[in-house]
């Protein structure tokens, strides 16, 4: 993308020009680039203007999500949840710089094919990590298998993409968080739902508040089933 194009979208080019980077993904709200900074592999995540959104709403969302992502990346580290190291934030360019994790997303791993035993142990890892996160009142907001990476060297699980996260101690919010993940498994990985069972099993063992949260999860599920669907 050229400087002119960026300017047209109302953006300054980040200090490391995206021209020298490789576009990894264009998600619903951000472009993610891979580049180098001081000889280190970095990720640039730039939130861009959405033409379809009212400018007031767009600015508000981009700004608050960028701030929330930064806050929660730091909060997660404090809780002992592995996340990419944050290098820098450029508000004017709506860009976050962070450590590039060498590895694969859980989604990619599943697509490549995993043995039932590997699925089970990775599912348990995910469940334990979510328990710690939720016990620390951090709710992710977009739990999918593309937002969990596995380091290729240590096999550590790393959480990313905290733009929709929030701080909440409410069982309801944590339950919806799990429900989003459950639905991701049911839709995108219909053949690997056994992995989600392992997630819940480990969550139950490790979360101090597993009881209210899993009870609420049952409620949230029922709401989906009971809803009248007319029209």
């Amino acid at each position: 993308m050229s400087k002119d194009d960026l300017a047209k979208e109302g953006f300054l080019d980040p200090i490391i020009s995206t021209a020298s980077c490789q576009l990894l993904s264009q998600g619903a709200e951000a472009r993610v680039w891979s580049g180098e900074f001081l000889g280190r592999p970095v990720i640039l995540k730039q939130r861009f203007k959405k033409k379809y959104r009212h400018p007031v709403l767009d600015k508000h969302l981009n700004h608050s999500r960028l701030k929330q992502e930064v806050r929660s990346l730091l909060k997660a580290r404090k809780l002992g949840i592995p996340t990419p190291v944050l290098y820098d934030v450029e508000l004017e360019a709506s860009t976050i710089y962070m450590e590039r994790i060498a590895g694969c997303s859980v989604k990619e791993l599943l697509k490549k094919g995993m043995s039932p035993a590997d699925r089970h142990s990775l599912g348990r890892k995910i469940g334990q990590l979510l328990a710690t996160m939720h016990d620390g009142s951090l709710v992710h907001g977009d739990l999918t298998t593309s937002n969990m990476l596995v380091r290729s060297d240590s096999q550590d699980l790393v959480m990313i993409d905290f733009g929709l996260s929030s701080i909440s101690g409410l069982a309801e919010d944590k339950a919806v968080d799990l429900y989003v993940l459950e639905r991701a498994f049911n839709s995108a990985h219909a053949t690997s739902v056994d992995m989600y069972d392992a997630v819940l099993e480990a969550y139950k063992q490790h979360s101090r508040q597993w009881c209210p949260t899993l009870n609420k999860l049952a409620d949230v599920r029922m709401r989906g089933r009971k809803r009248v669907m007319v029209g």
Binding site: V176, Y179, V180, A184, R227, M229
Partner: protein, 338 residues
């Protein structure tokens, strides 16, 4: 060889429709009748069922006449099994069972949501899009994989159309032709953007908090004359449609798909189509949208998937030709796609 014809009956909500569709996808007739309630009032199951019973026979006659076919040319009858309102659904199912026995043809139960999707695909020619299904009772982001329409995102409380209908009642807007249509028209005159709660969780959305907020806020702002009803409609549409476009885009990124199909009654809203178009263009894809003839509940959308199943040799035994108010999109085994 003559082509198979299917007659479909839809009556899951406040519309009763009868459609006749030919094997090549040609829609020969598709008349419908809408039960319209006074402003400020929603439709109730019992009255709606009576409305459907009163109109279904004449609609069948009208459809046969428009299609210029005789009952002996009809190969099968399709009807809406669910989801929807109990009474109105039963009214449609009884008519379908009666015709199947009278004309001695097989009967096929159809899922209403799958009807919307297949109708959208045949009318627009979309091959494998992410589907946004938005109506009075449903809000779902759907993609096809391995013989099922899988739900990637949905509302965790109210449906978008339901939210619009309830807000129309706050402003006492007319239900003719629909509350959503009247909000859309009024919104065109709005200019002031009032910030409203915006709730997206992954690929799911939530509207209930937004609805209670705007109900209160509207009373307050209208009383103090700081905003007009048009401003409120404008702000509501801008906010909820942005949420819908965002979750659709998230599903596209997740499934690696470029095209979008919008179906369901709210899908004929031009502002929603325009916003979706902008998003899809930026991703180099194509938006497939349909107008009110096919977006809004109708008989052809039931006849067409009925015919697809019929060609696969799938029928519903008469004693199993019942209705169910809750019937999820992903419960249906889609045998006609690979």
């Amino acid at each position: 060889m003559t082509q198979a014809l299917c007659l479909g009956i839809e009556g899951s909500a406040n519309k009763i429709g009868v459609g006749i569709v030919r094997e090549d996808g040609e829609i020969l007739a598709n008349p419908r009748h809408t039960y319209i309630t006074p402003p400020g009032q929603g439709f109730l199951p019992r009255e709606t069922a009576v409305h459907h019973q009163e109109h279904v026979v004449s609609l069948v006659q009208q459809a046969l006449k428009e299609a210029k076919v005789a009952p002996k040319n009809i190969s099968c009858i399709a009807y809406t099994k669910g989801p929807g309102m109990g009474g109105p659904l039963v009214a449609g199912a009884i008519a379908a069972r009666m015709l199947a026995q009278l004309w001695k043809v097989p009967i096929i139960a159809v899922n209403h949501c799958v009807g919307h999707i297949e109708m959208g695909r045949i009318v627009t020619g979309a091959r494998d899009p992410v589907v946004l299904y938005v109506s009075g009772g449903n809000t779902q982001v759907i993609a096809y994989s391995e013989q099922r329409y899988r739900i990637f995102g949905e509302t965790i409380d109210l449906a978008v159309g339901n939210c619009l209908d309830k807000f129309a009642r706050v402003l006492n807007l007319s239900n003719d032709p629909s509350p959503g249509y009247n909000i859309e028209q009024l919104a065109k005159e709005g200019s002031q953007f009032i910030e409203l709660p915006y709730v997206v969780k992954g690929m799911d959305v939530s509207f209930s908090g937004l609805l209670s907020f705007i109900e209160e806020k509207t009373k307050e702002l209208l009383a103090s004359k700081t905003a007009t009803p048009a401003d409120m409609c404008f702000s509501l549409q801008e906010t909820i449609f942005a949420m819908l476009v965002e979750v659709t885009e998230r599903a596209m990124a997740h499934c690696n798909t470029r095209d979008v199909l919008i179906v369901g009654g709210v899908g004929c809203n031009m502002r929603l189509q325009e916003m979706m178009q902008q998003m899809v263009e930026d991703r180099g894809g194509e938006l497939y949208a349909i107008d009110e003839r096919y977006c809004i509940d109708n008989g052809a959308m039931i006849a067409w998937p009925g015919l697809l199943a019929f060609k696969q040799g799938q029928f519903t035994p008469l004693e199993e030709a019942t209705c169910t108010q809750r019937f999820r999109t992903d419960d249906v085994l889609v045998t006609w796609r690979d």
